[in-house]
Subunit: 235 residues, 2 copies
């Protein structure tokens, strides 16, 4: 009905429209199951016209992934205001919203299906991980991280990824609980590293300095303290 | 010099020898860089004879990966004796020894290079993760895990993987420190989950019941307690 009144799009505008349509389809089903015919139909154009803009499904997939990667990296941006725990919690909310919006595509990509695994897709995944890592260091105010901090932050980023993937697989635990849990996991992994290394202990002290009594980091500490008080965790 | 006296091997024996030679080569360099010619030379046989046993490099790679996966899963086996923290620490020692022995091949596989990413290689990786998960539940004595426990154990398994990969990339932190850190991380992630969920709290109570005062779990708790006592971590 609307095809006759559709105005002519410019090349870049058409490319961007196709990327948007493809990202939507690649997000909601495993990318291997999405055909060029379907993308063409969803965009309201012919199959040959899709090939006019993208040489094949892989290049369209990579363009869609590029947009998704940029969008996810943008969600890691958070104003440098207020307690760190709450900043991280807000980022986790946006992260899980992204994971929820792109569920099947995110799973297929991160689990390394046939559509994934090219050096370009792997480079984009690493870029997003790097963006997360840099944002955290930036919020901690650290420009020259010791190796132990790099390890804790990078391994926590991977923990966030695997937690999101496990959540997608059945969604048995409420999303909000896992968002908070990952904030707590960050504090816990930092604390473990601090327990044995004075340099890490100093970083944790600085991290907790601005935490309010009702912030997520303090709340965890008091809850763990309560468990210890009841003899549940050895004090 | 020795080729003339080399005795004739049976088919299965020759296959196993080739797998061993290939695993050695695939472990010490990125598998993409290892050629069939090299494998043939290392095995002391001709290139066509390699193809007689394996149709191509991918099938030989998968056979080598099969052996490595079985070997790694075997290292997760630990007698059900003594405190849990020490059992996990022994497994971590064997895990890092494996990672060290197979460093470049392990990195290439887990980072999803072109040699990896087939559905068969991914299935083998998942099988090893599953073996680790089942061993941990088995040692915890839990046959019907709640969703929160499944999530903590599986996400810790992924944390162990990423920690090992980060360690390989520069080896800036001593291996033994990371083995202990992962034992502590396990306790910390369990404790975070326990802090908000009574079912998880009961599991953590049971887990810590048999821990001696000088075990790794108790040691962490007392070190964290000391940090809290000095006002470093809010109590």
């Amino acid at each position: 009905m609307t095809t006759n009144v559709r105005r002519r799009m410019g090349v870049e505008e058409r490319r961007q429209q196709l990327i948007g349509v493809a990202l939507e389809l690649f997000s909601h089903r495993s990318p291997d199951e999405v055909s060029i015919d379907e993308i063409a139909a969803a965009a309201g154009i012919s199959r040959p016209l899709v090939y006019h803009y993208f040489p094949g499904k892989q290049s369209l997939y990579e363009a869609a992934l590029r947009r998704a990667a940029d969008e996810l990296a943008a969600r890691f941006q958070e104003p440098h205001e207020g307690p760190l725990g709450e900043r991280l919690q807000r980022v986790m909310e946006r992260y899980f919203a992204f994971v929820e919006e792109h569920g099947p595509g995110f799973s297929a990509l991160m689990r390394g299906g046939p559509a994934a695994g090219s050096s370009r897709t792997n480079a984009m995944i690493d870029e997003v991980r790097q963006a997360a890592y840099e944002q955290i260091l930036d919020h901690l105010g650290i420009t020259d991280p010791p190796a132990r901090l790099t390890l804790v932050v990078r391994s926590w980023v991977s923990l966030a990824e695997s937690t999101a993937l496990l959540w997608l697989d059945g969604r048995e635990i409420p999303r909000a609980e896992l968002e908070l849990q990952l904030v707590h996991d960050f504090a816990a992994l930092m604390a473990v590293s601090a327990a044995y290394d004075p340099e890490m202990a100093a970083i944790v002290v600085a991290m907790l300095a601005g935490e309010p009594a009702d912030g997520p980091f303090t709340e965890l500490a008091s809850r763990l303290g309560a468990l210890a008080g009841h003899g549940i965790i050895p004090a």
